[in-house]
């Protein structure tokens, strides 16, 4: 049976975003709707997984299946969904705190497992839902109520962390460029493996430093001849602060976690009675 492509509206739920006016997350949400439509995804086959926080509210705004979990645990939940049913398209959407602070360990392991999911991190360099504290991607010296003298911690570079952890698709997007972001998400979904799209998504309420205006001056597209299969070059470009590059910085083809799981299966549900009988015989 041929599947009808859906109009953009089919991906929107009737729950209206609670984000502040001007929030970067609107651009990411629109990028996601557009990516889903371009991919022709059926909402029944999509699961949008998140942790908690402003950006992690996103699953409620999509008319697909979703899982809004607990802080930092989006990756384990997404892993479980894929283990149970590798046919599902799983997108993880959440913030920099979820991905790199409380969920930092899970991020590294999801990357090294090469889970076949697309993880869009809405990176605003600040904790918005708790009203403006320093985040793992805040710059050194960033002043907030919890770091009145400026944070001494060096920021995590999400792209370098992803590459070092074994992610096989590493990209940077910008909420101010929703069309390009939608294309990145499409590419991330197409990629068989862990696709990380760190996305600048400014917080207009609490972050007066990393604004849309500031990002527009700091970002640049990758050079035309850029080769994302070159690991060393990818790390070099990921490390650049001036400019900060947008696009696919690293890509590596290979088997995903799900491929390995499927290959490990040596039987099906129908075998269950025989397997149990065999067990009783072996232990008899």
């Amino acid at each position: 049976m041929a599947v009808q492509p859906l109009p953009l509206e089919a991906y929107k739920s009737d729950e209206k975003p609670t984000w502040c006016p001007g929030c970067g997350d609107f651009g990411v949400l629109n990028g996601l709707y557009n990516a889903m439509r371009q991919k022709g995804l059926q909402t029944k086959d999509v699961v949008v997984v998140s942790g908690i926080g402003c950006s992690s509210r996103l699953p409620f705004f999509v008319a697909s299946y979703g899982f809004h979990g607990v802080h930092g645990r989006a990756m384990p939940i997404a892993t479980g969904v894929k283990v149970a049913n590798p046919n599902l398209k799983v997108l993880a959407m959440g913030g920099d705190g979820d991905a790199f602070a409380i969920g930092g360990g899970h991020f590294v392991h999801a990357a090294r497992r090469n889970l076949d999911i697309c993880y869009v991190i809405m990176d605003n360099n600040i904790y918005g839902l708790t009203k403006g504290q320093t985040s793992p991607t805040s710059q050194v010296g960033f002043v907030t109520k919890t770091t009145p003298k400026g944070t001494p911690d060096r920021p995590i570079n999400p792209l370098r962390l992803a590459i070092a952890s074994g992610a096989t698709f590493v990209a940077r997007g910008f909420s101010g460029k929703p069309k390009e972001l939608a294309e990145l998400i499409v590419e991330g979904i197409n990629h068989n493996g862990f696709a990380v799209i760190d996305t600048f998504s400014p917080c207009p309420t609490f972050n007066k430093v990393n604004t849309f205006k500031a990002y527009r001056e700091e970002v640049a597209d990758l050079p035309k001849d850029y080769d994302p299969s070159d690991l060393h070059r990818a790390i070099e470009y990921a490390s650049s602060d001036d400019p900060m590059y947008l696009g696919v910085l690293y890509r590596e083809e290979g088997a995903s976690f799900e491929d390995h799981l499927q290959a490990a299966k040596i039987g099906t549900e129908e075998n269950a009675p025989a397997v149990i009988e065999d067990l009783f015989r072996r232990y008899g």
């Binding site: 599947v3 009808q4 859906l6 109009p7 509206e9 089919a10 929107k12 739920s13 009737d14 059926q42 909402t43 029944k44 086959d45 999509v46 699961v47 949008v48 997984v49 908690i52 509210r57 699953p59 409620f60 008319a63 697909s64 299946y65 979703g66 899982f67 809004h68 979990g69 607990v70 645990r73 990756m75 384990p76 939940i77 997404a78 892993t79 479980g80 969904v81 283990v83 149970a84 049913n85 599902l88 360990g105 899970h106 392991h109 799981l261 490990a264 299966k265 040596i266 039987g267 099906t268 549900e269 075998n271 269950a272 009675p273 397997v275 149990i276 067990l279 009783f280 232990y283 008899g284």
Partner: protein
Amino acid sequence: MAERDDLVIRVAGEAGEGVLSTGQLITLAAARAGYGVLTDSVPPAEIKGGHSLFQIRLAPRRLFSRGDVVDILLAFNREGYDRNIRELRDGGLLLYDSGDFTPPENDGRYQQHALPLTDIARKELQFELGKNVVAVGAISALFGLDPEYIRKLLHQRFARKGDVVLNKNYQALDAGIGYVERNIPERGALQVKPGDFGNEARIVVSGNQAIAMGSLVAGCRVYAGYPITPATDIMEFLAAELPKVGGSVVQAEDEMSALGMAIGSSYAGKKSMTATSGPGVSLMVELMGLSSMAEIPVVVVDAQRAGPSTGMPTRQEQGDLFLAALGGHGEIQRIVLAPVSVADCFTQAINAFNLAEQYQMPVLLMGDTTLGVRTESIPTPDVSAYEIVNRLGITPHEGNGTNGAAGLGVESGYKRYALTESGVSPMSAPGQDGGQYVATGLEHNESGRPRSDAANHQQMTHKRFNKLEAARENAPAAHYYGDPTADVGLVCWGSMWGVVVEAIDVLAQKGIKVAAMAPRMVWPLPDKQLQPFMQSKRVVLVPEMNYTGQLAQLMRARYLRDVVSITDYSGGVFTVARLVQEIEGVHQHAR
């Protein structure tokens, strides 16, 4: 000479020296010969070179505990002797490998015989690896086992390695038997009555293996876990078996991830489980709350060990009941089950999945160190006798919103958290059209949308706790033992049951009547089982292996009646003798 009714054999030596394989061979052979067997093993905290022991109790009937004293101690080395000789009963038999050491002067408290294992294997057989089989032969000759059972086991184990190896093993067996027959004339005192279970279909498994088998039967198809003593063998077992039924095992990066994966898998439609021990449960508490709030079935096995923090990982305690029943922020509804024996581990694993699916909430299954690692010979389970409960799914017309079959529109209309009379709502799985919703740990309305108004929270809290009350009302049957007319009652949980049963038998011989019960469901407390039992007793004692008397406290709080808490928190074994003594004390005092 009269045959004995039971026998406890302990093999002790250096880890890696064959203590385990010697013990396992004797156990299997005895079980096949129809003996009831129950084993206990204490692996060293060290990986190699530490002290290791394996204890087998055998009898011509079902056994409930490991036994309080050791009848035969086989020491492979001096440390095995030093560490265990005190537990050898007066008049017991010490065997030692004279090729390894000579024990100090014996004051006549026990018998002793050199068993030149190393010498026989090396000099007589030129087969050094055969030492363990010599020991197996010697011990089996002591208690009167037909060697045919061991021959069959050796054949199963070594036939594929060729006739040379197999024959060497047969020779080692005969050498062990022959040595004992020639040199230990007083062995008649150790002969045990023949086993009763020879014609029954039985399996010999550990508690952890029984849990894993039960989970397979219940339909578990995804396991995620993080290795931790003493739960790891559940994961190792399922890693080999689940792929055969199309299932998967994932080794997670930590316990939070393990439970997160299990919850994600269950949400996506597969029955899922994780197993851990206390430290892991501590880490999982937040995700237990998620499972409760998002109403996602999941099974968590807690193979309890001793002490807070890292405590004593290889030791025994029942210290996690408060954590399992009450741990967490907010109010988490969850079910806690406690199997009492290896056979019950199998049954209760199935109960755990059934209850998780029926009520869509987390279910904890409380094993512990002794229950998990001990092996018992149990009747082969009749799989057809178990009812398997699957979750309440959606039917196509339930997902009848505009996002249904046409795949269009903004709202499915499906109410994942619909307020039903039972509190249980039909649950869709991703991939089903019309079932689209967002599972969430936030308080939500019937459609799963975040809502924090008072009326909604009250309604939803009622919904979730109604399910718990239904579970309390329909708790699986409790275990009962002893004389129901007794006015002294014992209530216990989990692996304490075996000690209680044997203590009651001892007391009955002394003319003291005691009745005991162990609820299979220890949270919520099953009123319909506990209340009538307590009301029928003048005094209720609650023996537990913890300091605070956790079950006793939960019972006092719910039933407003005092119970006598008896606790052991040594990390060792709650002995039958100690329990008998405690009950005798209460009995006399009450007169």
